[in-house]
Symmetry: C2
Subunit: 270 residues, 2 copies
Amino acid sequence: MSGRRSTIESLSNPLVKRMRLLREKRHRRAERLFLAEGLRIATEAREAGVLPAWLFLGPDGAGHPLAQALIDATMAAGGEVIDTTPAILSKLSGKDNPQTIVGIYAEPQATLADIDRDAAPIWLVAERLRDPGNLGTMLRTGDAVGAGGLILLDDSTDPYGVEAVRASMGAIFTQSLVQARWDEFLPWLRSGAGELVATWLGDDGVDYQAARYSAPTFILVGNESQGLPAEYAAAADVRVKMPMLGKADSLNAAVAAAVMAYEVLNQRRD
Amino acid sequence: MSGRRSTIESLSNPLVKRMRLLREKRHRRAERLFLAEGLRIATEAREAGVLPAWLFLGPDGAGHPLAQALIDATMAAGGEVIDTTPAILSKLSGKDNPQTIVGIYAEPQATLADIDRDAAPIWLVAERLRDPGNLGTMLRTGDAVGAGGLILLDDSTDPYGVEAVRASMGAIFTQSLVQARWDEFLPWLRSGAGELVATWLGDDGVDYQAARYSAPTFILVGNESQGLPAEYAAAADVRVKMPMLGKADSLNAAVAAAVMAYEVLNQRRD
């Protein structure tokens, strides 16, 4: 299979109009496509074996050797490479100063059944995550600690929005990503190996460094403003808390996930 | 001294127009005032002894006992309490669904000379921080680990913008905050006790758990996309790196600061 290379210079081109709509969640859902900006993230994707269905290049987009590798790989995989204008890149990305590369990717359709839990010692699980920056940051952290992926519970923000993709710094292409309801997740978890560790602010939490973690460890963090429901925490194998020496009673959700994930990693390194 | 209580219902009220401009950095600079939303953050401020010059209350704003405490304390400190409409709160905050309380606070004017470095074992230092969410999150983490405050080097994003204040979850009122140039910071640091620990991605970084930290520890993190300048890292007492097991070569700046800060705290707890 071999792709095409074409040129689009009109802002009213139907493909541009269609792709621009991917900034809205309902259109991403309908199309099962999402947008990622920048050579760096697109190169991370390529190295993970993921290529765009459409690759939009600005006038300076093809100059870098990594861009040429991306163009070649996209064409070889049957994708379409489109030389275009800065105005169209702005329209696609919604930014005044767009990156010189915008890729349109197929949204993975993974479910819990697709997860090979033994493939990684750490998995992140977030419940009703609201902030796309936090979501992308968790994916990025997951990549760093050697996690297998991120499981989003209940009604979390869309991981394929531009802000989450950007904050992931490419980890959206390397980490598994599954969305599930708690009522699906818990039976799935209990159907195999795995320790569920809840970050918890209640009185019965144990110090996060006192607990010993066994792989695969599922690190569960709750909603940014409400934390975890008590029922979810009660179902966990262990409820842990980090020292909080100040006035505030909680950490940012992505920070809590990272501090916990590095503790689990460090125990494995010892 | 005792304050006033008044009512404003007109969107064209001069005070409303003036306060609304505080969403722009240049007006914050000119007025030396900033805006913080929500009863929770205003209560954190009150408990830290910081009261607003103006306290705007929506129709439901005075119902909570903590709101009454805030009203009383604001009046007692000579501030003005203003009963107002949801439309005016929206105008002030720039949000469609504003919180029922908006406080306008005097911007602290602290400099390096005001820092009592021995007052806390940990200090966070960020260089050219660009993202207000990261900045606020660092303040929040600093509060949690018992840090003294955050020193912003060179041209960082404005810590008094609405997004940074919101992400700090009140820590903007409890952590010291100083903006300085590197050329001021380094001589100040070397004029007293203190270990400068740079998070560093270069080859000469030591594992962050292998280094032993002594108080006061100054944790230095670099710009989100470029990291620290080599010159800054070279001036540090130790350059540390966290394990990075995946494809990416760096962590989110606020995450890196938090993972480091908890390591320093944990060594002190051992």
